[in-house]
Symmetry: none
């Protein structure tokens, strides 16, 4: 369910973090669901366990999953996890907007771009 792209330049652990967030957004992973263990996830994706470990750690720091030692890792309760994701996304998007404005794009252009992407997604 999680596609990794080794060519993209995005660190694998980041891709894994985003992949799990995406699965949660899609409803494929629901609050309380258990995640595969670090080792089995590493095996499934053919990546290094250290890399999975790092992704889980980041997800836990951000309150999106929680780990019960000896039991495994689980998707956090709805509100806490969602807020964390939402806030991160808002922050990231704000800095993207700032970058774009600094490079001379206008708010109108940005709004236009959003609309155009929205249409593409509906196809």
């Amino acid at each position: 369910m999680i596609q990794l792209d080794y060519k993209s330049g995005v660190p694998i652990y980041d891709q894994l973090v985003n992949g799990i967030i995406r699965l949660k957004m899609l409803g494929a992973l629901r609050p309380g669901d258990s995640l595969p263990s670090v080792r089995s996830m590493a095996f499934k994706l053919s990546i290094n366990p250290n890399t999975v470990q790092r992704a889980y750690q980041l997800l836990e720091e951000r309150g999106i999953i929680y780990s019960a030692p000896g039991k495994g890792s689980f998707i956090a309760d709805n509100k806490e996890g969602d807020d964390a994701i939402h806030n991160m996304a808002v922050q990231d998007f704000k800095s993207a907007v700032n970058d774009a404005l600094l490079k001379g794009l206008t708010s109108a252009e940005l709004t236009e771009i959003i609309k155009s992407i929205q249409k593409e997604d509906k196809r």
Copy 2:
């Protein structure tokens, strides 16, 4: 005029590239203007000439400046450089929008964020 942040994780040569683009957008650097030489820029910013060289080379590849051995480096003529900057910025922003949508933000929210930033800038 160019602030470097060593903690940010953003490569210094990238920060320099963005700084020069910003100065151009602000009109502080105009087409035909000469840039400080690689060495003097390095001295001003207390960084290594190689790092400046790399930034200048990236700017040249993107058509934003041009360099002539023995003469110096210069801001490129308007259209070519501006288009390059604009296209890069649009690409970057598009992928930011996609990221945000994947994390559950709605287009309406994104438009709202743009508006709020616009207001801040006017203060």
Copy 3:
């Protein structure tokens, strides 16, 4: 497998870029194959790792290889890389033809030269 010529005036990183392209054209390097690490390639060719790094980076920008920190560098999938090589080669050849015409060679002569070289290669 890669011969460097220090007297030629052609930058070493460019020679390395061309050498790897040549090995790919010859089929000695195939899509998915891993390249020697930056360090080991540098050792083999008795050049500085930075120079290899630069060559690999250029190849990556052109879509001919891709690099993943912690994993290594790999020959890109066929189509993308081949197109990049082909387009570069066509551009280079076009400007060579223009230069030749400016210096008074006729198209007939140029075609003749191509034929003569073709015969040499068959020997």
Copy 4:
């Protein structure tokens, strides 16, 4: 009559060499014609006299012009100069063909490219 392009990356002295060759090919400079002195040529083109000196030196080495100390520089007799230009051009073109073949272009493609350029020129 000679256009210099500072952005092209081609050394100015090379552009000057090519410019003079071109003027000769076009018949604007004929055997025996005198060239502007190093100083006046430098003034006309707003470039450094050293650069003109270097261009003249290269042209003389290749037998395209000759200098009479105290008198000035002159376009060489027809045959000698033309042969020199022709041979240089042939050499350059041969290596361009070799490069193209190494990068996988076929002789047929090269011949095709020549034809296409020929047509453009006739427009």
